[in-house]
């Protein structure tokens, strides 16, 4: 059992799909590996939910696209550190 973790919050369709509002996952984790990590825990989530979601890391929106897909190099890629707070942000519906 990993003792080093980060917290991840799910909202709306993401919370329905996972059946959870929040959980902790092993840290550190490369940001670009977040979606595949979630896919391995919740098969189908990437296509059905995450494709239309934003991601925040410690209160800031971040890009989770792997560097190689963007034509960049993998160095300097962001990492979700121990104790960080991640949130999966589905399309919003206030008002």
């Amino acid at each position: 059992m990993a003792t080093q973790t980060f917290t991840i919050h799910y909202f709306a369709s993401a919370s329905s799909y996972t059946g959870k509002n929040t959980e902790t996952l092993p840290a550190p984790l490369k940001l670009s590996l977040l979606f595949s990590e979630l896919e391995s825990r919740y098969p189908g989530i990437e296509e059905k939910v995450l494709g239309s979601c934003g991601v925040s890391l410690d209160g800031e929106y971040v890009d989770v696209t792997p560097a190689e897909e963007k034509g960049g190099d993998a160095e300097g890629e962001r990492v979700i550190e121990v104790g960080s707070e991640v949130a999966i942000i589905p399309p919003v519906s206030s008002g």
Binding site: K20, Y61, E85, V92, G95
Partner: protein, 176 residues
């Protein structure tokens, strides 16, 4: 919804609300609350002797969606992002329209049908700016504010709504 393994996170715990933000220099007031919205409070926050125009928008919950009867609606938010987004929206409107005050309040948790889920009060020197800014602020909130509506239907089932699917007149947006 049941939470497995972990206690209720703070942002879903009504006891951690209301959460408010106030920028005195721009006269911006932001409120996220599980209590009923009180329009007179938001109007009094923005009005001043210099303001000749004060508009108030109240969005209230409807009892149907595409002909299906809605039994209950509820909202959740993620304040670390929501308050930041509302602040950006209010600041942009103050700057663009030279407003004298903006108050944005959103109710969370269960909102009984017919009650207000969002209140927007805007004050300006003259009416055109207040009308326009009120509409722009509402549309920006609907597009960007990190708040989610869940509709439960009388015939069973529940759905998370997405504003991007509908325009300001409630019409389904067709992907272009």
């Amino acid at each position: 919804m049941t939470t497995k393994d972990t206690p209720l996170p703070a942002h879903l715990d009504p006891k951690t609300y209301p959460r408010t933000q106030h920028d005195e220099s721009k006269n911006i007031h932001l409120t996220l609350t599980y209590m009923p919205l009180d329009a007179t409070i938001y109007l009094s926050q923005t009005s001043s002797p210099a303001a000749g125009a004060n508009t108030l928008f109240l969005g209230t919950t409807r009892d149907t969606f595409e002909g299906r009867s809605v039994s209950q609606l509820s909202y959740t938010s993620y304040p670390p992002l929501t308050l930041k987004t509302l602040k950006e929206i209010a600041e942009a409107a103050v700057e663009k329209h030279q407003l004298l005050g903006v108050s944005i309040a959103h109710r969370l948790g269960v909102v009984p049908v017919g009650e207000a889920s969002i209140a927007i009060a805007v004050s300006s020197g003259h009416r055109a700016a207040a009308w326009r800014a009120g509409e722009e602020i509402l549309e920006a909130c609907k597009e960007r504010a990190e708040i989610w509506k869940r509709e439960e239907f009388v015939d069973g089932g529940m759905e998370w709504r997405a504003n991007a699917d509908r325009d300001a007149e409630g019409r389904l947006r067709v992907a272009s």
